[in-house]
Assembly symmetry: C2
Homo-oligomer: 339 residues x 2
């Protein structure tokens, strides 16, 4: 900027003024300065600007796993939204590990991000400390957090699973296996409630041996399914509470020599682009990823625009059951269908 000022024979203050349009400067000088900027190929140093202004126009985004297609899609939407608003996005993957998440949040705060969108992990860790206390607004994504009262956008997980399991019950299924992630994650907790309530609402018992818990990974889904299928009275349907785990479920079914939906019905949480391309076409609970991402971005952008005082806002969106052909009717229903 100094060079530009010299070339245009003005002070740096004037250059700054035309750059930001913050004061009226004569057409003549404006012209000279713009010319000098072009000649020199000057680019304003955003770091220096950030230091002075106290804002970086950068936000931090942390997700457990970017390879989970749900998060992939949401990250993509969020990135686009902030891009439009002139913000950069720093992306971190926490690998479902609380220490990693804490490290990365520290990394982001050190770099003075203006805001944070967090699909949190564990019990929240340092997140609890920075919400409210600090000056950086936080939006929780997908997962609420005890003791962290801030903006959030989540799914009505309970209702979504309730609907899906009720659908299975209507098809005639009575013993429905359920594979979940760690229950200290709010969506997993809520989904579990939805499962239990659906059974209870239909007057069915909740058999604890049909409930298996894993750590979100494909291998966990595989092992859980193996256990369910070796039960002496094995389930006729399995609901898998997240996407990577259902891959494990499908592989376990294949490896054990069964097929879906003939021998066992499968439904799962999270839709993905291939859902209706292959056989079986999976019945899933689709999350409105576009809306989730946009709402999260909007909540944060609103705070960044200065609206700091509004009380925390919690947006709850609805899932949608995508009925395909991975679940088959049982008993009397099966008769009427095949007839």
């Amino acid at each position: 900027m100094l060079h530009v000022a010299e070339a245009a024979r003005v002070s740096v203050a004037t250059v700054s003024a035309v750059l930001n349009g913050t004061a009226t400067v004569s057409p003549e000088l404006t012209q000279r300065i713009e010319q000098a900027i072009r000649d020199i190929g000057y680019k304003r140093n955003a770091i220096a600007r950030s230091l002075k202004m106290g804002t970086t126009r950068t936000i931090g985004l942390t997700v457990p796993h970017i390879t989970n297609p749900f998060f992939t899609d949401v990250v993509s939407v969020i990135q686009q939204a902030f891009d439009r608003a002139g913000y950069a996005v720093m992306l971190c993957c926490t690998d479902e590990d609380l220490n990693t998440q804490d490290d990365q949040i520290r990394l982001l705060l050190d770099r003075m991000v203006d805001g944070l969108i967090v699909a949190r992990v564990g019990d929240g860790g340092i997140l609890k400390g920075i919400v409210g206390d600090a000056n950086v607004p936080v939006v929780l994504l997908d997962r609420l957090c005890d003791g962290v009262d801030t903006d959030a956008v989540v799914l009505d997980n309970q209702r979504a699973v309730f609907d899906a399991v009720t659908y299975l019950i209507h098809l005639g299924h009575r013993r429905i296996g359920y594979i979940t992630g760690a229950s200290d994650i709010s969506p997993m907790h809520d989904r579990m409630i939805g499962y239990r309530e659906a059974l209870q609402a239909a007057g069915l018992p909740v058999a604890e041996e049909l409930i298996r818990s894993g750590n979100f990974h494909e291998i966990d889904g595989y092992n859980a399914t193996m256990q369910l299928l070796s039960l002496h009275d094995r389930p006729s349907a399995i609901f898998s509470a997240n996407n990577p785990m259902v891959i494990g479920t499908m592989k376990a079914i294949r490896d054990i020599g069964l097929s879906c939906p003939e021998d066992i019905s499968v439904a799962c949480f999270d839709d993905f682009p291939w859902s209706d391309v292959f056989v079986p076409q999976l019945t899933t609970v689709a999350q409105p990823v576009q809306a989730i991402g946009e709402q999260a971005a909007n909540l944060l952008l609103d705070r960044l625009a200065g609206n700091r005082e509004a009380p925390p806002r919690k947006l709850v969106l609805k899932g949608r059951l995508m009925i395909r052909n991975s679940c088959r009717p049982l008993g009397a229903l099966a008769q009427s269908v095949s007839a």
Copy 2:
């Protein structure tokens, strides 16, 4: 830092010294300073540090689409690698659009990223200007760029497609449809050569009507496949040169009332987690995503570590044909197999 210095009754220079270990300071003061840091909860301002040091310990990463599973995986690997090295990653999606890419590269450079990893789009745009000229090292990912002579890691695309198409020919296929992306993207260009060479090596003609070009999206693959399948002498196999497009291919086959592999064989570029879970299990060319991401990260980290003078390094990795059951033998071969 000023507050820490006052609390510990020392100068800021001394605080800086213990923070960075850049000078010997007495145990007594060290102790006092560390105590003050804890008391105050002081965190060093990375922006001010960046301004002074001229380095941000942040890199920029741009990819065309993060929802393409190939890029998802590579982004994930790269993010982890830089995380380990204490770098933050700014992620941008260019949406296969050159102007968007230029905007985002400018955004990243404004923010003074220390380096750039780019899966470029279009003809490179301002990329050409910043390589060599500027002080920020650039690593090309997946896609080379004419006129941009810098570090790169790519696949041997030509060979990979050559092998895949040769495999189809060995199965007895003679008319093999080929669906590609824009040919100004180096991988697409190279893959096309591999396709042509495989046919030529087998003494087969290259029928131009079997070659269709799209813009990487599912819908493009769908339309191209529709066209191929309505040819009066339709192909017996289709090779789709990227992942989103093969979804379109599968949907088109389904919608037109055919099935894979009975009526038409399909193979494609890029493996994905579901490849072997559903029916048909897709035969794919798997890229070594882990290696690609790590090598790209290593190339850049090496430059960041100060090795600026070494000539550009180009790493070419091998793809791997994952033979599953989406391609069936034809003619005499089919006889012997079914016998």
